[in-house]
Amino acid sequence: MAGIIDSYIPVAIILVVAIIMPFITMFIVNVLSPRSSGETKFDTYESGSDPTGEARIQFKVEYYLYAISFVIFDVAVLFMFPWSVVFVGYDIAALLTIELLIFITVLLFGFVYLWKKEGLQWEK
C-alpha cells in the first residue's frame, strides 16, 4: 500500500509546483512589467499582420462525419495488428482466420452502410 502511494510522490510534487508556478509568474510579471495602453494593444494577435475576418468560421458538418468514419476504420484495423503478431506459434490458425474474416465482414457491412447512406459523398 505504502509502496503505491510512495511512487506517486514525484507526481504530487509536480502537481504542487504546477499549481503554484502560474501564480508566482503572474505575480512577478505584475510587479515587473511596464504598462501602456493603446489601440494595438487590445487587437487580436495574428502573427504580426493585421487581423481580417471572423475567427469563428464554419466547417462543413460532413467533415466531422468523414473524420469519424476514418477514425472508426482506423481503430478497427488496429485490432488486426495483435491478431497477426500475438498468436504466432499457437495451433489455432484456422479458427483465428475464420474469426478475423467474420470481423472483416462485419466491418464491410459498416462500409456498405456508410456508402449507401451517402456518408462518403462530399457534396450533396
Partner: protein, 483 residues
C-alpha cells in the same frame, strides 16, 4: 465450438441487426415495416433459445473464463429480451413511415446484445464492453427523432451524464485491477481482502457504485433519468426503464455482491442509506408531477430504491425477491410507457402539433376514449403500487418479507410507508382516466401498440396470480450469486 452455441441468442440478434441494417438500405420507406417483423422474429428466436438453455440448467464458462452461462445470466437475458420484444412490437407502429427504420431496429438489437453480454460477463472488461455497447446504442435511440429539440436535449443529457459515469466506472475498475491484480470477477472475489484492507478500496467501490448507480438511477446519480425518460420517445423510455436500468442491477449484482460486499458487512449500511434516500426521494417528488412520463420516471427511481434493498439484506430470499422485482418491474414499467405511447398517439391523431402529449390532462376520461388502454394502464399502475393479484404485489411481498425475516424491520417499514405514498400518485392517474369527463371521441388503438401492451398486461397478471415458476427461477438465479 459447443460453447459458441450457448451464445446463439446473441449471435442471432447480431445477425438480425446486420440483416435489418443492410436490408433497410435497399428498401423503400413504405416497405420498411418488414424490418420490424424481422427484428421481432429474431428476438423471438433468441427468447426460445435462451429459454431452452435456461431450462436445461446449463452452466458453462467460455472465452478463457470471461463469459459464463448460468441461471442468473439466462434469467436476466430473458428480462432484456422480453422488454425488447415488447418495445420492438410497439415500435413497428412508432417508426412506421420513418426513413431511418433500419437504424432504429439495428440499434435496439445492438443495445440488447450489450445488455446480454453484461449479464453473461465474468470479467470487468467484458462487462464494461457490454455496458458501453448498450449505452452507446441507447444514446442514439433516445435521440432518434433528431428534428425534435426536446428529444435532442434528453439525449444530450443522457449522453453527458453517461460519459461521466463511464469514466467513474472505468476509473473504479482500474483501481480494483490495481489492488487485486485481476479483472476476473471470481479472481477479484478471491483477492478481495486486498481491497478491504485498503483505503483506496473505498474509493474504488464508491466509483463502481457511481458507475452502476447511474444506470440503476440511484440517488444522487439519478438526475438524468426524469429528463431523459420524459424527453425520449415513450417506447425508448420503456426500453430504458425496462431493460437498460436492469443492466445496471445485474452488473452491480455481479461485481458488488459477488466480488466485494460479501466480505465487508458494514458496507451494506451504505446501501441501506442509498436505498432509503432513493425510494423516498423518488416517491416524494413523483407526487407533484403533472407529466405522466416524468411521474413514471420518478416512480422508476423509487422502485430502484426498493430493489436496492436486496443489497442490504443479502439473504437468498431477498436476492430472489430483488430479481423477481426486476422481472416484474420490467413488464409493469414497459407496459406503462407503452400505454403512455398509445395516449400520445391518440393526442397526435387529434392535433398534429400537440405538445406535452403525456400531460396528465390528456388522460382525462381515457376509459371512455380507449377502454382497453385505460384498463391496462390501471393494472400497470396498481401493479407498480403493489396491489395484490399483480406482479408488483408478489415481488414486493417476497422482498419486504425477506427484509423482515432478516431482522431489518425498520427498512421494511420505510419501504412499506413509501409504497403507501406511491399509491397516491398512481391513483391520481386512475382518477383522471376513470372519473374525469372528456370531450374527445373514441379511438381504436393501433394493433402493434395494443399487442405489446396486452402482452405486458398478461405477463403482469400471470406473475401476480401464478408466481411459483418465477419465484423458482429467481431463487435459482439468486443461488448463483451467493455461492
Amino acid at each position: 465450438m459447443e460453447d459458441i452455441l450457448l451464445l446463439a441468442p446473441e449471435i442471432i440478434l447480431a445477425v438480425t441487426a446486420l440483416v435489418v441494417l443492410v436490408a433497410g438500405l435497399y428498401l423503400k420507406t413504405e416497405h420498411k415495416v418488414a424490418l420490424g417483423f424481422i427484428s421481432v422474429a429474431g428476438i423471438i428466436m433468441a427468447i426460445a433459445l435462451t429459454m431452452s438453455i435456461m431450462l436445461a440448467k446449463t452452466s458453462a464458462s467460455m472465452f478463457y473464463d470471461t463469459m459464463v452461462i448460468d441461471p442468473l445470466s439466462q434469467v436476466f437475458k430473458l428480462v432484456f429480451l422480453s422488454v425488447a420484444l415488447l418495445v420492438s412490437i410497439a415500435s413497428v407502429k412508432y417508426v412506421s413511415e420513418d426513413r431511418n427504420t433500419e437504424e432504429f431496429f439495428a440499434l435496439l438489437l445492438l443495445a440488447i446484445i450489450g445488455m446480454m453480454v453484461v449479464s453473461s460477463s465474468n470479467d470487468l472488461i467484458t462487462l464494461f464492453l457490454g455496458f458501453e455497447l448498450a449505452g452507446l446504442a441507447t444514446y442514439a435511440l433516445v435521440g432518434f427523432e433528431k428534428k425534435n429539440i426536446k428529444v435532442l436535449e434528453a439525449s444530450m443529457k443522457y449522453f453527458i451524464i453517461g460519459a461521466v459515469s463511464s469514466a467513474f466506472l472505468l476509473f473504479g475498475m482500474s483501481y480494483v485491477y490495481g489492488m487485486t491484480g485481476t479483472t476476473n470477477i471470481p479472481g477479484i472475489a478471491a483477492n478481495a481482502h486486498l481491497l478491504v484492507d485498503n483505503p483506496i478500496g473505498i474509493v474504488a467501490i464508491v466509483m463502481l457504485i457511481a458507475g452502476f448507480g447511474y444506470k440503476m438511477s440511484l440517488v444522487p446519480f439519478h438526475m438524468w433519468a426524469p429528463d431523459t425518460y420524459q424527453g425520449a420517445p415513450s417506447v425508448i423510455s420503456a426500453l430504458l426503464a425496462g431493460a437498460s436500468k436492469k443492466m445496471g442491477f445485474i452488473a452491480a449484482f455481479k461485481v458488488i455482491i459477488v466480488a466485494l460486499i460479501a466480505l465487508n458487512a458494514e458496507w451494506q449500511t451504505i446501501f441501506a442509506v442509498l436505498a432509503v434516500i432513493t425510494m423516498t426521494l423518488g416517491n416524494v417528488v413523483a407526487l407533484s408531477q403533472d407529466s405522466v412520463k416524468r411521474m413514471l420516471a420518478y416512480s422508476s427511481v423509487a422502485q430502484a430504491g426498493y430493489i436496492s434493498m436486496a443489497f442490504v439484506v443479502l439473504t437468498p430470499t431477498a436476492l430472489a425477491g430483488g430479481i423477481l422485482y426486476i422481472l416484474s418491474h420490467a413488464f409493469m414499467k414497459a407496459g406503462a410507457f407503452i400505454a403512455v405511447a398509445i395516449v400520445g398517439f391518440m393526442i397526435l391523431v387529434g392535433n398534429k402539433d400537440a405538445r406535452d402529449t403525456d400531460h396528465i390532462d390528456n388522460f382525462r376520461g381515457l376509459s371512455k376514449r380507449m377502454p382497453i388502454t385505460a384498463f391496462a394502464l390501471m393494472v400497470f399502475l396498481l401493479a407498480l403500487a403493489g396491489i395484490p393479484a399483480t406482479a408488483g404485489f408478489v415481488s414486493k411481498f417476497v422482498l419486504f418479507s425477506s427484509t423482515i425475516e432478516a431482522g431489518l424491520v425498520w427498512l421494511a417499514v420505510i419501504a412499506i410507508l413509501n409504497s403507501a405514498i406511491s399509491l397516491f400518485y398512481y391513483a391520481r392517474v386512475i382518477k383522471y382516466m376513470y372519473f374525469m369527463p372528456t370531450e374527445g371521441g373514441r379511438i381504436t388503438e393501433p394493433a402493434p401498440y395494443a399487442i405489446a401492451m396486452i402482452l405486458a398486461l398478461v405477463a403482469v397478471l400471470v406473475i401476480g396470480i401464478w408466481p411459483e415458476p418465477f419465484i423458482y427461477w429467481a431463487s435459482e438465479a439468486a443461488n448463483v450469486l451467493l455461492i
